[in-house]
Assembly symmetry: C2
């Protein structure tokens, strides 16, 4: 599938400190869905185990914005649900659990087809943004389950590190910093660029154009190069090449 | 293999803030090796990519303590190196990379056999402690490569979370705390207990006895129970049952 048609809104995370579920991104989400004439969103709650509860949280929010929301875990056939969806929202949680469930339910190709051929709008948050990229190799999550591959939906030719966090110069903790982890990933030949999205950051992709939006600038890592900061509003379409 | 014979010294990490490589655990390592009459240690540097450099760091330290050190990555046959080793030290780095290399070099069964049948002393640090347990499901590392399984050497019937860190009550970061991650792991049926080792913490296992040593108390998690703190010197042999 060629990657020339797509509508993606990829959030670093769902909730920022001191604000309600998805509130920080409310305007962006509403603008995105309204501009595509979406009335109903298909929710994918696989990243958490209590999917009924998770769906209620998401439904309350989308309903308050005037959209209907149905959950894929309550559909009789998940593939048919994707085939008939107007738009999809994949929520955060654990990336390994989420990706394994996408494989177990045979949803990788159906979602790719809808996004890349039909231009179905895709919203992802945290783990839901990780699975939109080449692979989950740059997730921060604990590998609590074993998916059949780390390769993901591959809707974009780069990876995302959500919840990106700068090193704390006063920390005495010796675990690798986030930047060191991404550098270790890039020591492996053939790895794609990584977009570090701080909490409250997002990237919006329309066809072959990508832009940094939200509340914080983003940090972009290419193998063998110094990372570069990209302010709000920057066109980062070079990531799509 | 029955797990009744074993000699394991499992460190949370190699270097604590303000101190040299392995210095915080120097006395424990020397006591452990001397009590088993070890003269030469086989080093496993697979968790990092620059293995020559890593081996020099480890060699300098063990030589200064009066032991010889050879590295498995410089052996003509890694399996033969394990079969002839007096003791093994598996260093830290990336758990996914390390476990994949153990599988790629067909070392899982040879190491198990030497540790559980012959009682070969095993020292692990960070990723090297993760791979000694049931699985790497509770590593903190980024999944930069895909191993053929998350199941590990299974020298013990529990898992370890190295670099365990308590939640910072002042943090505004919304990523899961370490305790939340372990709780999410334990929502999965059939998961083993998890020993949280803070930096500068270790567990020493001799046959069917296990003890918390080092500089910090440990936190132990059983599925469906509140985690419990275990002070230095505590007998935690119940983890081996
Ligand atoms: Ca997560
Ligand atoms: Ca590590």
């Amino acid at each position: 599938l060629k990657m020339s048609r797509r509508n993606l809104l990829l959030l670093s995370n769902s909730t920022i400190h001191g604000s309600g579920y998805l509130e920080w991104a409310a305007q962006e989400i509403k603008d995105f869905l309204t501009s595509k004439n979406v009335k109903t969103v298909l929710f994918v709650p696989y990243a958490l185990r209590d999917m009924d509860n998770y769906t209620e949280t998401a439904r309350k929010k989308f309903t308050s914005w005037g959209y209907e929301l149905s959950s894929i875990h309550q559909a009789s056939d998940p593939v048919v649900a994707v085939e008939g969806a107007e738009a999809i929202f994949i929520g955060g949680g654990n990336s390994f659990q989420l990706l394994k469930a996408l494989y177990d339910n045979k949803l990788i190709q159906p979602i790719r087809k809808r996004v890349l051929q039909d231009g179905m709008p895709y919203i992802g948050s945290s783990a839901g943004s990780n699975v939109a990229t080449v692979s989950i190799n740059t997730t921060n999550d604990m590998p609590i389950v074993y998916p059949p591959s780390f390769s993901a939906l591959n809707l974009l030719p780069f990876n995302i590190n959500p919840h990106y966090i700068d090193a704390d110069p006063n920390s005495k903790h010796m675990g690798e910093t986030r930047e060191e982890r991404i550098r270790q990933y890039h020591e492996i030949p053939g790895t794609p660029p990584v977009l570090g999205l701080r909490e409250g950051g997002l990237v919006k992709v329309e066809d072959n154009s990508a832009k940094i939006l939200g509340k914080h600038q983003a940090r972009i890592f290419f193998p063998g190069q110094q990372p570069v900061e990209h302010p709000l509003g920057t066109d980062v379409s070079f990531l799509l090449k």
